[in-house]
Subunit: 130 residues, 2 copies
DNA sequence: TATCATAATGTTATAATATAACGTTTGTTA
DNA sequence: TAACAAACGTTATATTATAACATTATGATA
């Protein structure tokens, strides 16, 4: 089981910053933001990020190498993620759409591969930018 | 228009290597493979990769920072890509599924954003690895 | 053909992202 | 408390990607 609760000190610090942010954060930008708290090395950030992803507290936006807090308390183990990404501003929005998620989770490729997880990224212009 | 045909020398060299490869290739691994051909700098690789992506000849696997040749001659301008990725070996397979593609291309997020493009990555264990 | 614009090239340098490796500390539980 | 696992701190380094600038093809047009 995912032992949902206890975050370590560094994990909590990193999560707080990501949750407060308006958009996706990059690892080194997180790092610069926590140096006052005594965290000095990339490893400390990346380790926290890894654990937070494992716990489903945050997600990585692969096309941006950046991290966002999970909005849909559902994905405790994030095995079905979808995002809407504005190509102009940096806006990223997590999509929680039961139908979409069900459709993709039950999608089966002919080649005999059983999927455990997917990540979907949509790109376009957000309301503001178009 | 995409002016499908003429590839420059460097673009052709990079494309050849990616097409011959069994799996996804990383930029620097491409670089090491073409130094005998007089290409010495990352820029030359990245520039070719950028153009080839624009033309839809190759795709970037975002979760791996690696590149594969396009299999489905359809996606000349790659605005609807889907891949099946084995978490154990490095296998990546491009999924060409008209229904899936149609379903996602017509998917509309409530938030008033019109999507121009999507990228979907499925993860699991391939036939060999499971 | 001369001229102009565009795309591609070559090169050096550097930025940005991520992991290896090692020893120490802290927290859990048998 | 002893033993183990998880988290931490730290230094170094690997990997991925872009900036900047000068040069050279390529292709269209006057
Ligand atoms: Zn989520
Ligand atoms: Zn926007
Ligand atoms: Zn393709
Ligand atoms: Zn495999």
């Amino acid at each position: 089981m995912a032992q949902a609760q206890t975050l370590s000190r560094n994990q909590q610090i990193v999560l707080n910053i990501i949750e407060k942010a308006k958009g996706p954060l990059k690892a080194y930008s997180i790092l610069f933001n926590v140096q006052k708290k005594g965290i000095n090395a990339p490893q400390q950030i990346y380790r926290a990020l890894d654990k937070l992803i494992e716990m489903g507290k945050i997600h990585k936006i692969e096309s941006k190498n950046a991290f966002v807090a999970c909005k849909s308390s559902d994905c405790e183990i994030s095995k079905a993620t979808a995002f809407s990404i504005c190509e102009s501003c940096e806006m990223v929005d997590e999509i929680s759409d039961a139908k979409l998620s069900k459709y993709l989770s039950s999608f089966n490729h002919r080649k005999g591969m059983k999927f455990k997880r997917f990540n979907l990224e949509f790109f376009g212009l957000c309301k503001k930018c178009k």
